[in-house]
């Protein structure tokens, strides 16, 4: 049944309206306009009125353009020959390779039954002490890098991707600068990682609405590889651009905004994507690391705020370093009990002391006299930043743990560390 319409009754923002009688909620349509063809998706049906969001934007769309309903929702290409390929936000090739239109899968499928999930239990080692030691990354975790413009979040993302031992990498870019896209491509190609990677790329110069589908495409592909037994790492950058695209559509649809213009379902929209991270019993896993830039470096902005409530932690990037405060891996306790017996305790002790050292640092800045205790904390503060926080540092976890003990011993007596006597007896450096 061909369903073709020639009369667009309303064009507002990136949303058009036609009168039609059969379209389903979520169904796709193709519009042929003077600007070329574009996909559109049904986002509301009210009696005969059907509203669609147009992926390439409505600029140049006219009231008499041809609209054809396709009879299905958003689909993603999926086959083994996907590896090494680059697609855009509509799922069409961005590289010179062939179109994979004959092997398509549904996107935004049903959610994983919690009863079938297995607890994530394998640590992904990155060689970055602020991650491995203080906030371990775990296979099947969903975690975001909180960052602001100018911070090396994409470099960090690439480093995690290349260092992690996974079978497949799926990278989804939303509204990234073209240079950043080239950076990722180069990094992947230089290390041969490209032939186990699939890219879905939407750059800042592409139509905004196209950013909306990138997470769904990337996650559908990742999920299918995971079900085939692959360990998949999915990277999504930048989720703030995704949220902004949602906001734009919500405003056009005259939805009541809840907070700074964002729609009330922002939490749900983000969660539906992030919750795709899972460890499938007897099959593979999907790990999700994203970038969330914080407008105005404000962590209470609705996008980072909602994200923080959804992800299993965040790496808080500030001044080119991963901050110990504000960073968190909620799954760390699932893995750090099996690393080394001092891991958990020293992690907490180091941070508690670092918190005290920050206070002392403030006191010093205000010109107070430093007590002997303050002097110790100041030294500690310096060593901690130099030896552990610097992103250049690349050491295995065990080395980092030893380093912690040596820093503690340089600065403090055992009793000042709040560590249990038992651990001190075992690990405190002698001589």
């Amino acid at each position: 049944m061909e369903r073709i319409y020639n009369r667009i009754l309303q064009i507002a923002g990136n949303v058009i309206m036609v009168e039609a009688d059969g379209p389903k909620f979520g169904e796709l349509a193709r519009i042929e306009s003077a600007q070329g063809t574009s996909l559109a998706e049904v986002i509301k049906v009210d009696h005969n009125q059907v509203f669609l969001q147009v992926f390439s934007g409505t600029a140049g769309v006219s009231t008499q353009d041809r609209l054809k309903f396709l009879g299905h929702g958003m689909q993603a290409p999926f086959s083994p020959s996907l590896l090494g390929r680059i697609f855009d936000g509509k799922g069409t090739p961005r590289d010179a390779g062939p179109n994979l239109a004959d092997s398509l899968i549904e996107t935004a499928g049903p959610c994983v039954n919690p009863a079938t999930r297995v607890l994530p239990s394998k640590m992904i080692r990155t060689g970055i002490p602020m991650i491995d030691l203080f906030n371990s990354l775990v296979e099947a975790q969903k975690i975001s890098i909180f960052s602001s413009s100018g911070e090396p979040h994409n470099a960090l993302l690439a480093r995690i991707a290349l260092q992690a031992e996974v079978d497949i990498i799926v990278l989804g870019c939303m509204g990234v600068l073209y240079d950043d896209y080239l950076f990722f491509k180069e990094q992947l190609e230089n290390t041969d990682a490209m032939n186990r990677t699939v890219l879905f790329v939407h750059t800042a110069s592409d139509p905004v609405v196209e950013a909306l589908k990138v997470p769904d495409l990337a996650l559908a592909v990742a999920e299918n590889f995971a079900l085939q037994g692959k360990r998949v790492l999915t990277l999504l950058t930048d989720m703030t651009n995704f949220a902004d695209a949602l906001k734009e559509i919500a405003i056009i649809m005259e939805q009541v905004p809840s907070n700074r213009g964002y729609p009330g379902d922002l939490y749900t929209q983000l969660a539906q994507r992030y919750e795709k991270a899972a460890d499938f019993k007897g099959a593979g896993s999907l790990t999700l690391v994203s970038v969330t830039t914080m407008p105005g470096n404000d962590v209470t902005h609705p996008v980072p705020d909602n994200t923080g409530y959804i992800t299993e932690g965040q790496y808080y990037l500030n001044g080119g370093r991963i901050e110990p405060f504000g960073s968190l891996s909620r799954l760390k306790q699932l893995v750090n009990k099996n690393t080394r017996s001092d891991h958990r305790a020293i992690m907490d002790a180091m941070i508690q002391l670092y918190a005290s050292s920050r206070e002392t640092e403030e006191k010093r800045a205000m010109g107070f006299k430093m007590s002997p205790w303050d002097q110790k904390l100041l030294l500690y503060n310096k060593l901690f930043a130099q030896k552990l926080m610097d992103l250049e540092v690349n050491i295995p976890l065990e080395g980092a743990l030893d380093l912690c003990w040596s820093i503690l011993a340089q600065c403090f007596t055992p009793e000042e560390t709040r560590l249990k006597s038992e651990l001190i007896a075992k690990y405190w450096p002698t001589g």
């Binding site: 009688d21 909620f25 979520g26 169904e27 509301k44 049906v45 009210d46 009696h47 935004a108 049903p110 959610c111 994983v112 039954n113 919690p114 009863a115 079938t116 999930r117 607890l119 994530p120 099947a140 079900l227 009541v256 905004p257 809840s258 729609p263 009330g264 379902d265 939490y267 749900t268 992030y274 919750e275 795709k276 899972a278 099959a283 209470t300 705020d305 923080g308 409530y309 959804i310 299993e312 932690g313 965040q314 504000g326 009990k337 907490d348 941070i351 508690q352 403030e362 205000m366 107070f368 006299k369 007590s371 205790w373 303050d374 007596t413 009793e415 709040r418 249990k420 006597s421 038992e422």
Partner: protein
């Protein structure tokens, strides 16, 4: 035949249905999508169009799809076999579902909540001819370590005469086990299970009592400073990552109650998985049985359909009320009530209602109040007492408590455990802010002592603020010692390591002992000449106390360590009262 309708519009999870006939507000509707029946609830009726909120994914629904109205309200099945189960927000048993559908939860797939074929050993307790009322027990079946009371369905109207009762024996949930007759002569068949609408509170009790008995959580800062009472309510607001979920998880493990109902409402699936995987292996020290045997989990995680999120908290509270009817102490934990409030907001937005603050609906407050009102300690006809305690987390936007959900919740609860970002950043767990939190209930420590310690913490905060201005050198040694005392109380008593086997849970008697020890130290003047010596002494003492916290209660090393601590205190407080 039931009422039929036709889809005429759809936005998100809201479907507009044209109908002609008698339709009830909140009636359950089923949208037929190529044979799949998608469940929804009527939430507004205007003329001959009803708006139905669908509990499942709505992709693919179109104009003209058929809708069947069921004539029933959203209900749960009550009966033996609920304990140990994992349900979704609509009471679908997720384990059974997984067996049928694998990794995912496809829409339109509904399964009976309880195993209808399982037989239970029924013992009748009522006499033929006896006059009974809704909620009265007429027999029992053993369910794990509990005696599950089989009750007269709450929806009937008494008095009802018991005209038939089947002999004791094994019956499944669908077999009739007795017959009732009302005064008009109509008869009703009794079974081991019956249904009840989730949004209606179960009120089959004689009276509500004051919540006066502490509900021991074994979390020191809670029980000693900001206690919760059996039948009371409390909330835990806090920014993301501050420790709300961990606090609820340890409470669900160690709380001294009979039954725990966990509502994972719009949060992460993995957090539920932790509980499902760990509880069957953990032994409840009070009963020697696995923790799962006293637990029910209702799980509507963040990626599951939003509309079912709202029903999940009601499903949980209804199951809680049901077990309370058996004279048990029930604790219901909801994580997070903000997600439920957000579901209301999404719905209200789609209905284009006039928005209130932050776009939440104007009726948010009364919904929250109505929910917490379902907690309570109640007395039944026979004199038995049962309680339902409700604890909910709140996830305020931006971590700022000055927002609609936190404000509305604080108006109705009896205790407030506010988590602070500073404390969680500094790894001072549980990150309950002792300066902001409060409780109206009586805990395991005398109120007067509790107030004294709270006063100390206030004073310490003042000293700390002052030190930030005048520096340590500008602070008197006395004030400095007071400061160290407060810090000591905080780090060895208020902070508790959830991941240390022993420290994770502190029973009532141990709390009393630890509290007294710290109190003694706080009360005593100490012979510490200068600040350096004072700091050294407290470091020393703290080390001993932290070690003491992870020694088994009452063991020899425990006693020896306590002696060591007392000796240290005696040494520094000579001339100030009797040795401890």
């Amino acid at each position: 035949m039931s009422l039929q309708g036709t889809v005429v519009g759809i936005t998100g999870n809201l479907v507009k249905v044209a109908f002609d006939g008698k339709l009830m507000q909140n009636e359950i509707a089923l949208v037929d999508l190529k044979g799949q029946k998608l469940k929804g609830e009527v939430i507004r009726i205007r003329g001959n169009e009803a708006e139905v909120q669908i509990f499942e994914d709505t992709k693919g629904i179109g104009k003209g799809d058929k809708v069947e109205f069921t004539g029933t309200l959203l209900s749960v099945q009550l009966g033996p076999g609920l304990l140990g189960m994992l349900f979704d927000g609509l009471q679908n048993p997720l384990n059974a579902l997984a067996e049928e559908t694998g990794f995912f939860t496809p829409r339109g797939h509904h399964i009976a909540p309880l195993d209808l074929n399982q037989k239970w050993a029924f013992t009748g307790t009522a006499k033929l001819g006896q006059s009974l009322y809704p909620g009265d027990c007429f027999g029992t079946v053993p369910e794990g370590r509990f005696t599950h009371k089989i009750q007269i369905p709450y929806g009937l109207t008494g008095p009802l005469e018991l005209v038939d009762l089947r002999p004791d024996g094994r019956y499944n949930l669908t077999e009739p086990i007795g017959t009732l007759k009302n005064q008009e002569g109509e008869t009703f068949e009794l079974r081991l299970s019956f249904e009840w609408p989730v949004k209606k509170a179960i009120r089959c009790y004689e009276e509500r009592l004051m919540p006066t008995e502490p509900m021991v959580t074994q979390v020191r800062i809670v029980d000693s400073l900001f206690p919760v009472a059996k039948g009371g309510t409390y909330c835990i607001p806090g920014p993301f990552g501050a420790g709300k979920t961990v606090l609820q998880q340890i409470t669900s493990r160690y709380a001294e109650v009979d039954i725990v109902i966990i509502a994972a409402c719009g949060e992460r699936a993995n957090e539920v998985v932790e509980t499902i995987k760990e509880f069957p292996e953990l032994i409840d020290p009070r009963t020697g049985k696995s923790l799962m045997e006293r637990t029910i989990i209702i799980c509507n995680t963040s990626s599951m359909p939003v509309a079912a999120r709202e029903s999940s908290v009601y499903t949980a509270v209804t199951l809680g009320e049901y077990y309370r009817q058996m004279g048990l102490d029930v604790l219901m934990l909801a994580d997070s009530t903000s997600r439920w409030a957000q579901a209301l907001r999404e719905r209200s937005g789609r209905l284009e209602e006039i928005p209130g603050e932050e776009a939440f609906p104007a009726y948010l407050e009364s919904m929250i109040a109505g929910f917490y009102e379902r907690a309570g300690r109640v007395r039944f006809k026979g004199g038995e007492v049962g309680s339902l305690t409700i604890g909910g987390t709140v996830s305020p936007a931006g971590g700022n408590f000055d927002e609609p959900v936190t404000k509305a919740t604080l108006k109705v609860v009896g205790a407030f455990h506010g988590l602070s970002r500073e404390r969680s950043d500094a790894r001072r767990f549980p990150a309950i802010d002792p300066l902001e939190s409060w409780s109206k209930y009586q805990g395991v420590v005398l109120n007067q002592k509790r107030l004294k310690m709270a006063g100390l913490l206030k004073r310490v905060n003042e000293i700390n603020q002052m030190m930030k201005v005048v520096g340590e050198e500008g602070t008197s040694t006395d004030d400095f010692i007071t400061f160290l005392k407060g810090e000591f109380f905080d780090s060895v008593y208020l902070q508790q390591n959830a991941f240390d086997e022993v420290d994770a849970a502190t029973p009532r008697e141990r709390q009393a002992e630890g509290f007294e020890l710290v109190e003694n130290l706080v009360d005593r003047p100490l012979n510490l000449e200068d600040k350096v010596l004072a700091r050294e002494f407290f470091n020393h003492l703290r080390q001993r106390f932290i070690d003491w916290n992870s020694l088994t209660f009452g063991s020899e090393p425990y006693k020896a360590k306590k002696r060591e601590i007392l000796n240290l205190i005696n040494e520094k407080s000579q001339g100030h009262g009797k040795d401890l």
